[in-house]
Symmetry: D2
Subunit: 154 residues, 4 copies
Amino acid sequence: MRKQKVTISVIGSHDAVGKKARKAYQVGALIAELGAVLVCGGLGGVMEQAAKGAQEHGGLTIGILPGKDKKDANPYIDLALPTSIGYARNCFVASCADIVVALEGSYGTNCEICYGLVFKRPVIDLGGWGIKGMIKVRNMAQLRQKIQCLMNNL
Amino acid sequence: MRKQKVTISVIGSHDAVGKKARKAYQVGALIAELGAVLVCGGLGGVMEQAAKGAQEHGGLTIGILPGKDKKDANPYIDLALPTSIGYARNCFVASCADIVVALEGSYGTNCEICYGLVFKRPVIDLGGWGIKGMIKVRNMAQLRQKIQCLMNNL
Amino acid sequence: MRKQKVTISVIGSHDAVGKKARKAYQVGALIAELGAVLVCGGLGGVMEQAAKGAQEHGGLTIGILPGKDKKDANPYIDLALPTSIGYARNCFVASCADIVVALEGSYGTNCEICYGLVFKRPVIDLGGWGIKGMIKVRNMAQLRQKIQCLMNNL
Amino acid sequence: MRKQKVTISVIGSHDAVGKKARKAYQVGALIAELGAVLVCGGLGGVMEQAAKGAQEHGGLTIGILPGKDKKDANPYIDLALPTSIGYARNCFVASCADIVVALEGSYGTNCEICYGLVFKRPVIDLGGWGIKGMIKVRNMAQLRQKIQCLMNNL
């Protein structure tokens, strides 16, 4: 028997471009470098860029899809997992993670942040959310440090 | 065949007391007076007070319970509906409503607000949330007016 | 505070016609006559006929819809409750019932029967299912007797 | 970007011992040998033996847990994914699979078979279920052949 893999969910807007897209890519890359599995909602924007970053740095990527069809996944998902339950899958994106990293986003991301906090997952704030209970980090260096620290204590 | 009943979900903290409890009771009473069905999460705090207010004013009350047992419901629920899906039932509390009224609350309430907005339900802000997309009302008179207006347009 | 209402879920094929449709209508009528609330999946076939039977005999009808839109409900649903979770709502059709009545159906109905048995609801077999754990009844008279007996022991 | 991994869900009783346990182990081993990812409900019995078989033959194992805690997983799960939604996770065990393999089981397994058929997944019958729409195989050799054939056509 092997040790369970650490899962880190990256959540954020489905239409990230430019600077936001690059940040998502970097977060995915970092997760892969730290040896964790990247989990996301499997679709576009932050989800796609984070998965790309993780996959291009040797990490495994999981997409928790709202629909029934693996074809809905973005091209950087190794393990497409269609849930069939629509937006209720937001609950699952949070519950299945050891750590949640939140970038800029909208209602869906806010919802996932809340589920993370309800399930007492550490939820890292990299998107200026400012919601009570989140762990604020300012940059990628702080994010790396915080994730390493959290992984050591799992 | 009859016209479908209007459903209004009241969401808020599970430990409301004092002024917050009275406000929840008044919201429930208003919903009953306007002829709508009160929906809530079926447990304590805002959920219980709103159900009490509705039931004591002749309204029908529905509790969307997280667990498997009808006994989990507060005493003012006419129709206890155990979902068995835990906190994922928050999604359902929003999706099954024509209108959502949000009082003060915590992560669960925030989550339900987000689902309401995702599902494009009108979400009335009676709890100082200030989330973009919500409909701000200041007092019970404004709430009554707003709900009547929304019910006329269903 | 009032006593909770008894909920009885009627499950079966979404395309019942002829004799099967009439049976579903009779089951709905019986549930209304016994003072219970009819719950169903809210769509066509057995769901529609059972709701029609209940509504035309003065009963309240609830439709647990798979989608997000109340308009999906058949015309005999008083309380349309869109769950947004697709076929996973089958789980909820079973969990929210005090008693489940199964008519002829296909995979979805079979799924709901299993959930009923998992949640230890009494599941009445009026569709020739023959699944272990179900309560076999032969006709409407036996069904009436069995439901009355179960309702007395809730 | 890489090709998506094939996911095969193995479903069956949570208390398999003896011959049934060995069969589950062999199915897990076969899935690993064929290069697919093993998915299961993450708990004991068939789920544990199949995961053990897959892990000991170099495969990746995923456990779709009903609860909120990764510690609920059996010791042979690489990726524990707590869903928090209880038995409704049965729906997800089916929807996230390219292929479903059903061994002997009870209501939960029957439920997952039905979901597999609803979602039009190929559901292989290795447990004497005899449900219409399932693909009957008699032994491990036939199972191997059938899975290979299905994998070639994904």
